[in-house]
């Protein structure tokens, strides 16, 4: 699994710390994962678990707000050691990102044509005419009707779903090899959500583009991802192939998330939810961060943080009792 040649992106011990009123808040706490060419990796967790910050840390958008440590190897080169100026040729061209809020992520004062073309201008040698043609082609690709007549339109003339498509078109402009997608469907209607996910999947397949898909929805992961990494309170608690993890979660938190997805239940059954709430960043417990909400927790959980350890079958989990959990699920 850790064949280095296959990995496009290797994240090692990524740690992002914010400093607020003299206190250090660790939003991302030493996470490591790989993304291989063309694969879709799901990064799952509740709000505030550090998913979005992790994505932003990878391309250097978080360091204006806090300290980012560790290594992010992109094709063997550490992005974290690069300056903003040196990152310009990677951002938007090799690694692109799309954001959660289509309503606020496009500049309201600029035509969408300009917002696509400025990416092309920064990363390609295309002239004006070719940039325009490419912009129309991109809008066409993401499924915007009568694309050529819409270049001069402003973001407020599009619906939420259409704006998300425009954002995807902008991100795809220079044929990136990796797309970082930060909850791209959370702000959309359910029917539109599905369309956007299908679009992303087909684009990834056709363009051989890898995706890191941040979401809080295991249902989305099950539909779209090859591998999944579950995040809790800034740390990865479980990683593995989607099929294995969803079928046999080794970590109690993953199990809890899975049980909260309503599936095949009779009407009027109360929905399950993991008891309690995630800990605040300034009040992280000394031991396992999930221990206060975990039904399996014992003294050892309160005393020390379990490391993410490989369990075989390409699955890793960070729990003191992974073996028991496994038996429980199987039983």
């Amino acid at each position: 699994m850790t064949n280095q040649n296959e990995s496009l992106l290797q994240v090692r011990d990524l740690t992002t710390t914010f400093h607020s009123k003299g206190r250090a808040l660790r939003a991302v706490d030493g996470i490591s994962f790989d993304v291989r060419a063309g694969e879709v990796l799901g990064l799952v967790g509740e709000s505030g678990s550090g998913k979005s910050i992790s994505l932003r840390s990878i391309i250097g958008l978080a360091r204006d707000y806090g300290t980012v440590e560790g290594n992010v190897y992109w094709k063997g080169e550490d992005l974290l050691t690069r300056t903003d100026k040196q990152l310009q040729c990677v951002r938007g061209s090799q690694i692109s990102m799309i954001f959660q809020e289509p309503m606020t992520s496009l500049n309201p004062l600029l035509t969408i044509g300009l917002q696509i073309e400025e990416n092309l201008k920064a990363h390609t040698d295309l002239d004006r005419r070719a940039r325009k043609a490419r912009a129309i082609e991109l809008l066409d690709t993401v499924g915007i009707p009568s694309a050529s007549s819409r270049l001069k339109d402003f973001p407020h003339q599009f619906s939420g779903g259409m704006r998300q498509r425009v954002m995807i078109a902008i991100a795809l402009a220079s044929n990136p090899e990796l797309l970082l997608a930060d909850e791209p469907t959370t702000a959309l209607d359910v029917t539109i959500q599905d369309q956007i996910l299908q679009l992303l999947l087909s684009l990834a397949k056709n363009l051989n583009m890898a995706i890191v898909l941040v979401t809080h929805d295991l249902g989305v992961v099950a539909q779209t991802c090859d591998r999944v990494a579950v995040m809790y309170a800034g740390r990865l608690v479980e990683t593995g192939s989607v099929r294995d993890v969803l079928k046999r979660p080794r970590h109690p938190y993953t199990l809890g998330l899975l049980k909260s997805v309503p599936e095949n239940i009779p009407p009027r059954t109360p929905l399950y939810s993991v008891p309690g709430t995630p800990p605040a960043l300034d009040a992280l417990p000394k031991g396992c961060a999930f221990a206060p909400r975990c039904h399996k927790a014992e003294d050892v959980c309160l005393g020390s943080k379990p490391p993410l350890s490989v369990l075989g079958d390409g699955i890793s989990s960070a729990c003191h009792f992974t073996v028991d959990i496994r038996e429980e699920v199987l039983a």
Partner: protein
Amino acid sequence: MSSLSYLVSRLLQIIPTFLLVMVVIFLLVRMLPGDPAIAMADAKATEAQLELIRQKLGLNEPLVMQFFYFVKNTLSGDMGTSILLKAPVLDVIIERIPVTAFLTLYAVCLSILIAGPLAFVAALNKNRGLDIAIRSGFQVGLSTPVFYIGLLLLTFLAASLRLFPVGGYGTTFLQHLHHLMLPALTVALYTSAIIMRNLRSAVIEVLDADYVQFARSKGLSRSVILGRHVLRNALISTVTLLGLSIGNLMSGTLVTETVFAVPGLGRLMLEAIFARDYPLIQGLTLTFAVMVSLVFLFTDMVQAWLDPRLRLS
């Protein structure tokens, strides 16, 4: 096409404003204490002579009729004759408009030149030494009365160092620039303090906006991000404020033009008030109202040009 209809509808809105201003001016002037006839005549005038003047000015007519004549005459370009200068009000005003317009525009340009770059520097160094230094500097400017700054500048730059003339307007464009430097700077220091604070917080807010983060993730250069994405968005709220401060700035010319002996509308207004020159006061107030309305109209046009949501909805 929709931009044009926006302009037309905005122009039509000026008409009611204009009428309302006429009513207010008319009533205000009539509520001022003192008899204009006494002000016009010399001290030894008899009651019969005063009565003659009152009749000439129409002061014995009912208020409604006076107002009707006022509107009718104003619209036909006749604003009466100045008691003080013994010349048609319209001619006197038209002669002085360029001076005040020049001064105001000059002050606005200086404000923008001072506030714009410093606001950006402060915002990009938020809460660091440079930001705090810039903000404290402007705080002093903001809390010092305009006339006091004016007197300081006059004393040091004009009287002691003789870099600038102490008053007047000059005849050529370059002379205007030279003569009006100190009065414009005086007003600009105050205005730029307001603009700087607003623009700084607008830039800070926009820098954190999703669309700026998205622009950064596209790998755009810093200059494109700041110039195209940050500046335009930050300007929207600042342009409104700038328009409002130009209104303030015009009333500020009463003080500055007097301190710096600039032959503009502001100084004329002050003289007219002291002389109880009713026709001139009316004419000047109306002129200021029209100028301020035009500035607001221009501000709205700039807003619409910046923000397509205003233009196209």
